[in-house]
Every structure is written in structure tokens, then in C-alpha cells.
């Protein structure tokens, strides 16, 4: 049994244990089991990393393919389940299992009073398994399996408290929106297979260069469409904010740190394909930038703390796609990592706030929590600074690199939109996160007689660790530290020196982005001093209504489809199609009745019938 397989087996085992016998275990045990399983994966991942490092010097690109079993085949198609162990998958595996482990631990405390811990942790383990499968997959179809499975897990976990219709609906929405993306993904997959005759990722990466531009672009765009679903980019972002109905740790793990980054990862994974499709790259960068800005603005006017964070996630994912579009996959992954740290931290902090305030999360009913929840507040603060991109916190380094690359993209392609929007978004980001902090932790409590108490160590511990990572994670990609992570990733995601790329005035760009961040914080702080919230008038409501996108979707897609369904089921199916069938039957019955009436019972008339018959018959016969 290869070590890599263990990576998957631990959480799988955890899932089976909790899923099958969990209900009969003492309520504290499932959490421990699950955490242990994830922890084991983390250890496995580390050992793999070590082995990987030992195997050869960092520079030489290496990818170990670990075959598991042959899944199925038909005609030319042969799908072999295999794992691909290289820098990219290792990085992701570490993030998933690492952050995952911390959140498992956190959950033990957070879900301490929930009646169904075993179900919760079973789902959580299943998710970790699915995510690891996704990142480790050596075959595009296997990747798709993980891709769909994480979707299911997110459906199950969002709807974990399914007694609440809102939660159930949110889960469903997430799954279906994801499915839309997945459909596109499948088509891309088919196209790749018909073009290359294989679904093996290594083979695809190798063959991508030879693909005709048209096919490469189409395939890339289809796959990217899938990514927009999973990573909540425009126009398929609508499910993520609703996903906040799930337990907060879930939001932290799935809807911030890991699953939503699958899209970014997938593009990195198929880097060569996208390289071969410049047109697609442009789309990626632009969509990313637009999403980043769009989501950030919405975050400005949300009252639900978790929703603020959700939109911030969407926005940050936008940054990552900008990086991908700018051919700086490594940078994108770098931001993915740092974001995983600080966004998880922020969510956990929010979770601890909810925990303390008995599930109140509406910022209008919070405030002044900095004193009672000082550790939580501290954690949130660090996360906020990292998000805002204030040096030297993690977010600063990654976001700044992205902006640089975006600028380079501008110089090469003349498309400065990503950079411009990126910079603007940096400012907005600082503003909304400051607002969130101000409304939640400072000023006078909205509800004086609430007596919040700080969270338990099991919850604070993970937060502390994440705080450290959020603070210092930047070193992984900081030039001063020699960019270890980036160099590591470059073994898989080589730097692409685009033609005519003039080297940007790095210093100037840094100054700009820092300025954006600081000014944003300042504005945010001033604007929301004493927890007063500025409404921004019409614009405010426009943002509060999320640019009315959800409303439009509902009016333009959901309702019409449902109406069409009812129309087809009623008038068309029962009315016309079935109507015809029944009409035939009825007309026959009627005809039968008619014929029957001819049988009047009068012998004379029968005789007449006979005579008429004779005349007609003989007539025909003799006239012929």
C-alpha cells in the first residue's frame, strides 16, 4: 500500500467509523476520531513532503505517479485511478489536511452541544477525503470525482441543520449551481478526451501544447466555467453566501479555506492547457477581477458578519483567478495558501462570536465584544490586517505579488482592467473588513444584558495557530525569505516570461497597494467610529441587494423554468400528448356505440342491410 494512498484512507476510515457506528459512540468520541483521522492525513502529507524533498533537489521538476487501481474502460477509454504527487498536490494536501485538522479540533468544542456529532464529523471526514482525492488525482476523471464529492459534502454540511428550511434550501442551491459548472466541466473533459485520447493529467499536460488553439481555448473555457461554479466566481457565485447557513467551522473549512479554491487549483493543475489558450486566460483574469471588485463592494453593505466574510472570500478568489489569468499560477496558489490561513481564522473568530452570543451574527446586534472576547478579537484583528494586505501580514505579500503580475499582464496584453480593479478592490477590502471589525468588536454593545464568555481552549487553540500562520505565512513567498513556496511550486508551475513583459516598477506598485490598504482602513475606521453605519443611500441598498443578481436569476431562470415545468406537465403532457391517446380510445368507444345503434332489433331492417350489402357488393363486382 503506497503511502500516498494512506493520505486518503485515514479520513475514509474516519468517515466509515463515524458513519456506521458513530451513533453508538459516546458523544465526545466522534470528534476525536475525526480529528485523529485528519491529523493522520496531515502527518502522512508531511512524510510525503519529506520524501519528496529527499528525492532530489528542489529545482528539478518531479512528479511521482502512484497508481491505485484501474477503474473502468470502454473502447479507447481507460480510466485508471492514480495519485499524482508533486509540489502542487503536496502544497494543497498540506493546506487541506493542516487547516482541516485545526478546524476539526475547533469543531469538537463548537459542536459540543449538537445532538448529531457523529453525522457532522462523518461528513467532515468525507469532505477531507474528497478534497484530498481532488488535489491528489492523477487522472482528470478522478479529479472530477473528488470535484463532485466535495460538492455533495458541502450540500450535506450546509444543510446539516435541515430542520431549518433555509439551510436545506441553501444546501440544495449550492449543489445545483455547482452541478451547472460541473456540466460544463464534463464537456471540457469530453473535448480533451476526444482530442488527446486520454484523461491522464500528466499526459494532458504533455499534450496540451500540441492542441489546436480553437480546441485548447474551448476546453479551457469549459473547464473554467466549471471552476466558476466551484469557486463561486461570476456568474455562478450565488450559492456561496447562502452556504453560510451551515455550521461556522464548515464555512471556515469548505467555503473559505479549501473547497472553493478547487477551481483555482484545477487551473494550476492544467496549467499547460491554459498556457496554450491565451484567449481563455484573458477571460479568466477579467472574470476574476470583476468578481473581486463586485464581491468586495457587496461586502461593504452586509449586516451578517459571516456574509461579509463570504463575499470577501468570493472577492479574494477573484484575486487568485487574476493571478491564474496572468499566468502566475504559483502566485495564485501562494495567495490561496495565505488566504486559507487568514480567512479560516476570520471565520473561526466569527464562529466564536456566534458561540458567545448564542448564534447572533447580525452585526447590528453585536458590538463592544473586544473586551469580553479579547482573544477572539485579537485573532479577528490579525486576520483582518492580513486580509486588508497590511505588511507584514501574510495577505500583503501574496496580494501584492498578484497585483504585480496583473500589472505585467497589462503591459503585455494592454488589458489593465485586472490591475486597476485589483487595486481598487484592495482599498474596498480594507474598508469593509475594518467596518466589520468596528461594528463587531468596538463601540457600545447593542445588547447590554448579553453576557458573552470567551470560547473554550479547543476553539482558541486552532485560532491561535492560524493567527500565527496569518501573521507570518507571508514569509513563504516573501522575497526577503527567498520565496520558498514559490520556488517549490515553480517545479510544477514554471514561470512564464510573457513576450515583451517590461519589468514593473515594483517599489511603486508596493507603495500603491500599501496605500490602498492603509487608506482603506483609515476610511473604514473613521466612517464607522462608535458603530454608526453609513447607509450610502441608493447605492447602499443596491449593494445590500447584491446588485440584485439573485433577484434577476430568480426572475429570469428559476421561476420560468419551474413555470415551464408546470406548463409542460399540465397542458402539454396531460392535455395534448396524453389527450391524443385518450381521444383515440374514446373515439373508438364512441364508434362502437354508433355501430351498436345500427343493430335496431327489427328483422326487416336487417333484411334491408342484407339487400344493401348485396347491391353494393354486386355493384362493385360487376362494375370492375
Amino acid at each position: 500500500m503506497p503511502t500516498a494512498a494512506l493520505l486518503l484512507l485515514w479520513p475514509l476510515a474516519g468517515w466509515l467509523v463515524n458513519g456506521l457506528v458513530g451513533r453508538f459512540l459516546p458523544r465526545w468520541l466522534p470528534g476525536v476520531v475525526a480529528s485523529a483521522a485528519t491529523g493522520a492525513s496531515l502527518v502522512t502529507a508531511l512524510t510525503l513532503l519529506v520524501a519528496h524533498q529527499r528525492a532530489a533537489p528542489v529545482e528539478g521538476a518531479r512528479a511521482a505517479v502512484v497508481p491505485l487501481f484501474s477503474w473502468f474502460g470502454a473502447g479507447g477509454l481507460a480510466v485508471d485511478a492514480s495519485l499524482l504527487v508533486d509540489a502542487l498536490s503536496l502544497t494543497m494536501a498540506l493546506v487541506v489536511s493542516g487547516v482541516g485538522f485545526l478546524i476539526h479540533v475547533y469543531s469538537i468544542g463548537y459542536m459540543a452541544h449538537d445532538p448529531h456529532p457523529s453525522r457532522y464529523f462523518a461528513y467532515l471526514n468525507l469532505f477531507v477525503f474528497a478534497m484530498l482525492l481532488l488535489v491528489g488525482a492523477g487522472n482528470l476523471l478522478v479529479l472530477f470525482v473528488g470535484w463532485e464529492l466535495v460538492g455533495v459534502c458541502s450540500y450535506l454540511l450546509i444543510g446539516f441543520w435541515f430542520e431549518r428550511p433555509v439551510a436545506a434550501a441553501a444546501g440544495r442551491k449550492a449543489f445545483i449551481v455547482n452541478r451547472i459548472g460541473d456540466a460544463a466541466f464534463l464537456l471540457g473533459l469530453f473535448l480533451l478526451f476526444t482530442a488527446l485520447g486520454t484523461l491522464d493529467i500528466t499526459a494532458i499536460r504533455a499534450g496540451a501544447a500540441q492542441l489546436p488553439a480553437g480546441i485548447a481555448t474551448t476546453a479551457a473555457l469549459l473547464l473554467f466555467a466549471g471552476a466558476t461554479g466551484k469557486s463561486a466566481q461570476l456568474p455562478l457565485h450565488v450559492w456561496l453566501p447562502d452556504a453560510m447557513e451551515g455550521p461556522t467551522p464548515v464555512s471556515a473549512l469548505i467555503h473559505a479555506a479549501t473547497m472553493v479554491t478547487a477551481g483555482v487549483f484545477m487551473i494550476a493543475r492544467l496549467n499547460e492547457l491554459f498556457v496554450a489558450a491565451p484567449a481563455a486566460l484573458g477571460v479568466v483574469a477579467t472574470v476574476g477581477a470583476l468578481t473581486a471588485f463586485y464581491a468586495a463592494t457587496i461586502a461593504l453593505r452586509q449586516h451578517d458578519l459571516k456574509r461579509v466574510l463570504a463575499y470577501s472570500t468570493i472577492s479574494q478568489l477573484g484575486y487568485m483567478f487574476v493571478a491564474m489569468g496572468a499566468l502566475a499560477s504559483a502566485v495564485g496558489i501562494f495567495h490561496l495558501v495565505t488566504h486559507a490561513f487568514f480567512k479560516a481564522l476570520l471565520f473561526l473568530a466569527a464562529g466564536s462570536v456566534m458561540h458567545a452570543m448564542h448564534d447572533v451574527i447580525d452585526m447590528r446586534r453585536l458590538g463592544g465584544l473586544a473586551r469580553p472576547l479579547r482573544w477572539t478579537a485579537a485573532g479577528f484583528g490579525i486576520g483582518a490586517l492580513a486580509l486588508a494586505g497590511v505588511p507584514p501580514f501574510a495577505g500583503f505579500f501574496s496580494k501584492d505579488l498578484i497585483l504585480e503580475e496583473a500589472f505585467v499582464l497589462g503591459t503585455t496584453t494592454g488589458n489593465y482592467l485586472p490591475y486597476g480593479l485589483g487595486l481598487l478592490t484592495a482599498f474596498v477590502t480594507a474598508v469593509y473588513i475594518t467596518r466589520a471589525a468596528a461594528l463587531t468588536f468596538f463601540g457600545r454593545p447593542a445588547d447590554p444584558d448579553a453576557h458573552p464568555h470567551e470560547a473554550s481552549p479547543t476553539m482558541l487553540g486552532p485560532m491561535a495557530l492560524l493567527a500565527v500562520l496569518s501573521a507570518g505565512g507571508g514569509l513563504l513567498g516573501a522575497r526577503v525569505a527567498g520565496e520558498p513556496l514559490l520556488r517549490f511550486l515553480h517545479t510544477v508551475l514554471p514561470v512564464h516570461e510573457a513576450a515583451g513583459a517590461s519589468h514593473p516598477p515594483a517599489a511603486l506598485l508596493i507603495v500603491l497597494s500599501v496605500l490602498a490598504a492603509v487608506s482603506g482602513i483609515a476610511v473604514g475606521a473613521l466612517a464607522h467610529r462608535g458603530r454608526r453605519d453609513l447607509g450610502l443611500g441608493r447605492l447602499g441598498t443596491f449593494l445590500e441587494q447584491r446588485w440584485y443578481v439573485d433577484a434577476v436569476y430568480d426572475a429570469v431562470i428559476v421561476r420560468p423554468c419551474h413555470a415551464m415545468g408546470r406548463w409542460l406537465a399540465g397542458p402539454v403532457d396531460l392535455g395534448v400528448i396524453d389527450g391524443v391517446v385518450n381521444a383515440v380510445g374514446r373515439s373508438l368507444a364512441v364508434a362502437g356505440g354508433r355501430v351498436r345503434q345500427l343493430q335496431t332489433g327489427y328483422a326487416r331492417q336487417y333484411a334491408l342491410a342484407l339487400l344493401i350489402g348485396t347491391v353494393v357488393l354486386l355493384g362493385l363486382w360487376m362494375l370492375r
Binding site: 484501474s70 477503474w71 473502468f72 474502460g73 470502454a74 473502447g75 479507447g76 477509454l77 476523471l141 472530477f144 470525482v145 463532485e148 464529492l149 455533495v152 450540500y155 444543510g159 435541515f162 430542520e163 431549518r164 428550511p165 436545506a168 434550501a169 440544495r172 449543489f175 445545483i176 452541478r179 451547472i180 460541473d182 456540466a183 460544463a184 464534463l186 464537456l187 469530453f190 473535448l191 478526451f193 476526444t194 423554468c561 419551474h562 415551464m564 415545468g565 408546470r566 409542460l568 406537465a569 399540465g570 403532457d573 400528448i577 396524453d578 391517446v581 380510445g585
Partner: protein, 508 residues
């Protein structure tokens, strides 16, 4: 026994039925139930023996038995199995015991008649899959209708009579023209082969002129299309499904619909290759309409069984799409998908049956928050639902993936439209699931909604096992059918010059 393995397989249930009919009095209900179950299990054992005896490496018909039946008309009793029929035979043998067990509690009256009808039905279905003589095939094909109609008409819901008659007449009306076409093929055979025979393999040696193929294939296709059912010939299905008792719905959805798709796969390439190729765009078109239409309409249903019925229209649309693709992935996918639909939809009907037995209501509106009352049931439902929604890892995915891949190779647009069905299936299934299982538990029937019993678990266990087994390791099935599929597809190749591509040979 080995010499006559298939005959034993086919007629074992019927024999059991006769014995039960003669030996066990109507009053001894449990005895009858057990006898019926054991008979079907014995049949399953024989089916396993057939699987063992089957040589996966050859695409030819195997375990053949041919007896001259009516020499004057050239009718023969010819049965044999190839990779295509093998899988469906297996499905049949597996599902009947489950269906019988599933109706243990729900069928209370006229148990004897019910059991006999079920066993008779099993023989008819097996016979249809295995016969290679056109007349024999038609005999079994029609024989299927009678017990099924009675299952619906006697143990069905309030509107059972209408449903039973509609099912019978609609499907029969479509099949009789096939009989005429069979005679026509026979006549043509007499002309071209100089031999009066209904033997499929023999008749497949001739290549009819394209015009004749078109007409005759149309007649065959009509019969099959109604059974499948291909849109817009589907309207008998919702009524039949809705009114039929659980076991009836299971068999109907899992097996009877497959008779149609099997027919397309078996007779199209062997007798009417050119017509099939010519008609494939039309078939694909109707299939796609069916996929989308069935999906959207399911979403608008208020009756659980109707919803599943329309979902069958959608799923069978996929199967037809795979057949229309006319390539290995398409055919293999369709074949697997037939099995999957049998398992998943069969299970779905059993799921509804569990609820119906408790509350005697199929109305979605009557339910809500069931998950809180029946957690084990909820788990089962979720698994079945995900497999029906073709989640990777469950059986459904392999089939739909292969089908769409095959379709994509034929024309990307077919696949592009087809994937719409993937989205829709998730939509209506999750919608229904949420309505029934989620939200606060509604007061109605609450007291009656007790979680699934051991027996019911026993019914679901094999299905769930299959769902994952096929999902994770479909190779055993695909390998067994591969050779036969290739041989079948060979027939579609346009004959170069006058040489006719080799018909599948027949061997013991």
C-alpha cells in the same frame, strides 16, 4: 442440466408457479410467499451458474439451445445468451427476489395470484431477453404484458383499471405492427436465404434493401419506443407507475422498460443496420427531448411516483442517446445505464413504497421533515437519490459518463444538450428530497412514520451494495459485454462491395 441451462433459467419460475398453483392452497399465504421467494432465489442461483459458464472473451451467442418448434412455419425454440443479454438477465434474476421480498408486507390480499403473476412475469422477461427466434421473442414479449397488466389492475391504486388497460393497449398496439414486420422479414428471408426461418442469427446473414429496412425498422422501433418509452410515446408510463403496487413499479421500471432499449440494441444492428444508422439522429433527437422534458416535468409533479416515472423517461432518454451514438462508449454506457436505472429506480420505488406502506399517501405535500423521524430511511434515500443523480462513485455516474462521452464523439451538441439532464436530475431529485425529508416534521402521519424495519433493510441491502459496487468497480460488467458490443457494432459497418459483415455466430 448444463446442456439446457438457459431453458432451466427461463422456465424455473414458471414451473415454480405451476407447482405453487397446484400444491399450496390459497389460505396458506406465508407458505406461498416463501415458496415464491425461494423459486426466485433458485432462479438467481441458476443465473449465477450462467454467469460462470459465460465466456467473456467471445462476442458470440453462447449456451445456445435450438429446437425446431413449428417446422411448417420455420419457427424454432432458439435461446442463447451474449454479453448484452447476460447483464440484463442478471439484473432480472437479482430484482425479482427483491421485489417479492419488498411486497412481503404491502401485498395483503390474493397473495397466491400475486405470487404466480410475479413468477410468470419473471419467466416472460427472461424469455424475452434470451430468445433468438423472432416468433419466440414476440411470444415472450407479449406474454410479459398479461401478468403486468394484472399486477397493476388488481393490486394497484385507486385508478388502477384505467392504468392497466392503458398500459396493455398502448404497448400492445405498438407491438402488433412489429409482428407484421417480423412476418415480412421472414418472407424476405424466404426469398433471400431460400429458407423459411425466424432464426435471428440466420436472418441477420441477409442485408435487406435500405427501403425495406426503413419500413420494417420503423415497425420494430415503434414497438420498442413505446416500451422504453421514447418521448412522446411515454404517457402510459406515469399512470402505470403511479397505480402499480410497489413490486409492480419496481419490475416495470427496472426491467420492462429495458425490453425496449434491449430491442433497439439487439434487433437494430442485426436486422436493420442501415436503417439504424440513418435513423440515429432522429433517435438522438427524441432521446434528448426525453431527457430534458422528463427532467423538467418531474420537477412539476406533486405525486412522488409520478415524479420517479418522469425521471425514468429522462434516464431512459440517456440510454437511447447512448444507443444513437452507435459507438462503443455509447453502447457500453447504455448497457450499464440500463442496469443502473434498474437498480436505482427500483430502489427509488421501494423507497416510496416504504413511505406509502406507512401513510398510504404518495403526495409530496403530505410529507415534510421525515428525516428527523426516520434517520436510517433518510440515509438510504440519500444514497439512492445520489446514485440516481449519477454522483461519481455510485453506479449512475459510470453509465451517464460513458453515454455522454459516446454522444460527444458522435456530435458535441448531443452531449451539450444531454448534460442538461445531469443538472435537471439533481434539481428535481433534491427538490423532492427536501420537500419530503427536510424542514420541520409535519404533524400529518407523524405517528405512523416509524423507521425502516429489518426486513426492509434486507430489501435495500443488495441494492445499496450494487450501487457502490457498480460505481466503484464496473469492470466486471463492462468486460463481459465488451466483446458482444464490438461484434454488434461491426454489423453497422456498411458492407464493402457485396460481402456482408459476419453475423454473430452461435455456439454451445
Amino acid at each position: 442440466m448444463d446442456g439446457r441451462l438457459l431453458s432451466v433459467l427461463i422456465f424455473l419460475p414458471a414451473a415454480g408457479a405451476v407447482l405453487i398453483g397446484l400444491l399450496i392452497p390459497r389460505s396458506r399465504e406465508s407458505g406461498i410467499r416463501w415458496a415464491g421467494l425461494l423459486t426466485s432465489l433458485a432462479t438467481l442461483a441458476v443465473a449465477v451458474k450462467v454467469f460462470r459458464a459465460f465466456d467473456a472473451t467471445s462476442g458470440s451467442f453462447q449456451l445456445a439451445e435450438r429446437v425446431v418448434w413449428v417446422p411448417t412455419l420455420g419457427v424454432g425454440y432458439t435461446v442463447a445468451v451474449d454479453g448484452i443479454s447476460l447483464l440484463l438477465v442478471g439484473l432480472t434474476a437479482v430484482l425479482f427476489p427483491i421485489a417479492l421480498l419488498g411486497s412481503w408486507a404491502s401485498i395483503a390480499e390474493r397473495v397466491k395470484a400475486f405470487t404466480l403473476a410475479m413468477l410468470g412475469l419473471e419467466t416472460a422477461v427472461l424469455g424475452t431477453f434470451l430468445s433468438l427466434d423472432l416468433i419466440l421473442f414476440y411470444v415472450f414479449w407479449e406474454a410479459v404484458l398479461i401478468p403486468m397488466a394484472f399486477l397493476i389492475g388488481l393490486w394497484g391504486g385507486p385508478n388502477r383499471r384505467y392504468a392497466a388497460i392503458k398500459f396493455f393497449l398502448y404497448t400492445m398496439a405498438a407491438s402488433v405492427l412489429m409482428l407484421i414486420a417480423i412476418f415480412a422479414v421472414h418472407a424476405a428471408g424466404a426469398g433471400q436465404l431460400g429458407e423459411r426461418t425466424f432464426d435471428l442469427v440466420r436472418l441477420a446473414e441477409m442485408r435487406l434493401p435500405a427501403g425495406a429496412q426503413a419500413w420494417l425498422f420503423a415497425a420494430f422501433a415503434l414497438a420498442f419506443a413505446v416500451k422504453v418509452p421514447v418521448w412522446p410515446l411515454h404517457t402510459w408510463l406515469p399512470d402505470a407507475h403511479t397505480e402499480a403496487p410497489t413490486a409492480g413499479s419496481v419490475i416495470l421500471a427496472a426491467l420492462l422498460l429495458k425490453l425496449g432499449t434491449y430491442g433497439f440494441m439487439r434487433f437494430g444492428p442485426m436486422l436493420f443496420p442501415d436503417a439504424l444508422v440513418a435513423a440515429s439522429p432522429l433517435i438522438a433527437g427524441l432521446a434528448i427531448v426525453g431527457i430534458l422534458y422528463g427532467g423538467i416535468v418531474s420537477w412539476a409533479q406533486s405525486d412522488l411516483k409520478r415524479l420517479i416515472a418522469f425521471s425514468s423517461v429522462s434516464h431512459l432518454g440517456f440510454v437511447m442517446l447512448g444507443i444513437a451514438a452507435l459507438n462503443t462508449q455509447g453502447f457500453q454506457g447504455s448497457l450499464i445505464q440500463m442496469i443502473n436505472h434498474g437498480v436505482s429506480t427500483g430502489a427509488l420505488f421501494l423507497i416510496v413504497g416504504v413511505l406509502y406502506d406507512r401513510t398510504h399517501s404518495r403526495e409530496i405535500a403530505d410529507y415534510g421533515g421525515v428525516a428527523t423521524l426516520m434517520p436510517r430511511f433518510a440515509a438510504l434515500f440519500t444514497i439512492v437519490l445520489l446514485s440516481s443523480a449519477a454522483l461519481p462513485g455510485t453506479n449512475g455516474f459510470v453509465g451517464e459518463f460513458l453515454i455522454l462521452l459516446g454522444a460527444f464523439k458522435q456530435s458535441p451538441w448531443w452531449a451539450a444538450l444531454g448534460v442538461g439532464g445531469v443538472i435537471l436530475s439533481a434539481t428535481y431529485l433534491l427538490w423532492a428530497y427536501q420537500q419530503v425529508m427536510h424542514g420541520p416534521a409535519v404533524a400529518k402521519h407523524q405517528d405512523r412514520l416509524v423507521d425502516v424495519t429489518g426486513t426492509e433493510m434486507l430489501v435495500f441491502a443488495p441494492l445499496v451494495a450494487l450501487i457502490f459496487a457498480i460505481g466503484l468497480h464496473p469492470a466486471p460488467l463492462l468486460d463481459r459485454s465488451a466483446a458482444a458490443v464490438e461484434a454488434t457494432l461491426q454489423r453497422l459497418a456498411r458492407p464493402t462491395a457485396t460481402v456482408v459483415p459476419p453475423a454473430q455466430t452461435m455456439r454451445r
